[in-house]
Symmetry: C2
Subunit: 357 residues, 2 copies
């Protein structure tokens, strides 16, 4: 039976970069006889425009029925002033939560061809290859109760709740250890156990899970120190596992170490490795519609999709190799361009990957 | 009447660096006729050893009675295994909270003499001068309820609460705007208003306070983006104001941009500018007792103390100038040493500042 992929181009540059990624996906489908079937829908602002909500029930059902989801990016100034309850991001949070996509993999990889793009000194970042494993469906992002209210004295106050259960921590810790096992066997769990009750449980459970992975070297680090160490000596890390909020912050910091966030894909997986795949970067409204966005992160998200949800290692490797070849040819979109390289627009970049594949 | 300063050397390298800072403080006292009186007590692990708790009631009373507090650093492996309720950090959190030290100022300043120490490219960080204003007595650090429990199904769970009230946000926002006013008139408020209820209130109240500061340019940024922008282009920031947890993470990240966290002081102020002053770095147990720690952050904390709590601008400036002169002389402790400079131990560095003053 053929595999169903739901494509959600989203907002801003989403549709442009997705067009290129879909070309690559279709070619891989033919070349490696993957028997994939694509369907399309909207998420985020585009869904607000079409359905009145950032994630329509029918879209959610299609996403449930699909074997994997490929997402562009969501959000933009057009929807900044609308009711917070239907902001584009809400659609993203809802699809993550409703599909149980708790395991978020965010690689921070420095492409040797792009080493100059980093704001860090070459010796600090050359060869950088970190994987951040972020818990994506729990913690303060979804914790109840959360409320905004007026106190008796007339003062406003608001609060959020940061909860974690043993099973939530256990399953994301396992993802961290499993990833470390197929990489350099080092896992750093990041928390704030010197202050937070939830972090104390986090640390205890990660320790317990670690008993089943004697071959992986486990360490713990406070989040403030991790934010510092990522700047000081990022190559000390192999895999980092952390909670939803800390993962949000540290994965963005780590991706920026490479200087080329336009290159970084991500995966959000459920317990059966069904997943949603998307670039780490946002919808970049400032350059939307100009045809100059970098499609490579989305193309590499296709590679992650084939690798993690369909176990199509050869096809996934081939796409990564094609991207690397295109960089070797000297082709660059504006965001990664440097002296001596050839400027390419979104479509030219996509075509080059197709040709290389 | 003379001003009372309570000195809390703390743990690890605390006593060593404090000895040098006290020399400088005493000299400034004589030279500028400040009429200061010093007394000493313990905080953190040293207090656990002496009193059985990381902040004894009598110490807290002395701190209340004092006009300012000078702190070294707390914590160390010796107290890692003790009851979490009396860990060294608890003393730090308690003194902050009990004294109402809500306004935490953490400068990230790159000393031109130490530009090479940064892991970032010189053009990215040269001239860097950011001030992070962190809310220090509210938010998830102190929010109730917080609990660790066993659910009916036998599973453990734990949660924390992140609350903010209008008045808490208002007073720290004012600190941010006031600081921006005497600097480059740019304030960036950092939150996660696309996800958190507390951040939505944070953003609304900061906006309201901003009405009273039309001369300060206010912007808002999500915390994940801020973590990224600090790496990409840190010089875009002047003053950043943010909550307790985000401030913890971002101030450490920002301080590491300078490459010389051993140089950075901090102030924690109450609503009357009474404050506690301490280096940004920790207790560095690995080098404690060796006499090689960098005392300059603590010496610069003395300068902040004189400036912020006692309004002794001339004395504060003189100490900063003395530190700068010592760097010009080429004297460096190990943490900031580079080729061509002269290595100095803790005491030699303190003596040099005394001589320069
Ligand atoms: C858009 C936002 C809600 C989202 C998050 O915070 O998770 C984004 O920053 C991300 O990291 O995917
Ligand atoms: C020691 C710890 C509790 C403390 C904090 O998180 O506030 C420290 O990291 C700091 O930033 O002063």
């Amino acid at each position: 039976m053929s595999k169903q992929i739901l494509v959600l181009p989203g907002d801003g540059i989403g549709p442009e970069i997705m067009a290129e990624a879909v070309k690559v996906l279709k070619l891989a489908n033919d070349k490696f006889q993957l028997d994939l079937e694509l369907s399309y829908d909207e998420l985020g602002g585009a869904a607000v425009d079409k359905y009145g909500v950032p994630l329509a029930d029918e879209t959610l059902e299609r996403a449930r029925a699909a074997d994997a989801i490929l997402l562009g990016a969501v959000g933009g100034p057009k929807w900044d002033a609308i009711d917070p309850a239907i902001r584009p991001e809400r659609g993203l949070l809802k699809i993550r939560s409703q599909l149980g996509l708790f395991g978020n993999l965010r690689p921070a990889l420095l492409y040797p061809q792009l080493a100059a793009a980093s704001s860090l000194k070459p010796e600090i970042v050359s060869g950088l290859d970190i994987l951040i494993v972020r818990e994506l469906t729990g913690g303060i992002y979804f914790g109840q109760p959360r409320e905004s209210k007026v106190l008796e004295n007339g003062e406003r106050m608001a609060f959020d709740t940061l909860p974690y259960s043993e099973s939530e921590i256990r399953r994301i810790a396992k993802v961290g250890f499993d990833m470390a096992r197929v990489r350099n066997r080092k896992l750093c769990s990041v928390d704030k156990a010197n202050v937070l009750a939830s972090s104390q449980l986090w640390r205890a459970v990660v320790e317990e899970v670690g008993k089943d992975y004697p071959d992986v070297e486990l360490s713990h680090m406070y989040v403030d120190n991790a934010a510092m160490q990522l700047v000081r000596a990022p190559k000390q890390f192999d895999v980092i596992v952390t909670d939803n909020m800390f993962g949000d912050i540290l994965s963005d910091e780590a991706s920026m170490l490479t200087g080329s966030i336009g290159m970084l894909p991500s995966a959000s997986l459920d317990s059966n490795n069904k997943g949603m795949f998307e670039p780490c970067h946002g919808s970049a409204p400032d350059i939307a519609g100009k045809g100059i966005a970098n499609p490579l992160a989305t193309i590499l998200s296709v590679s992650m999709l084939l690798r993690y949800s369909f176990n199509q290692v050869a096809a996934a490797d081939a796409i990564e190799q094609a991207v690397s070849n295109v960089l070797d040819q000297g082709l660059r979109t504006g965001d990664i361009w440097s002296e001596g390289c050839e400027k390419a627009n979104t479509q030219a970049m996509g075509d080059a990957v197709v040709a290389a594949l």
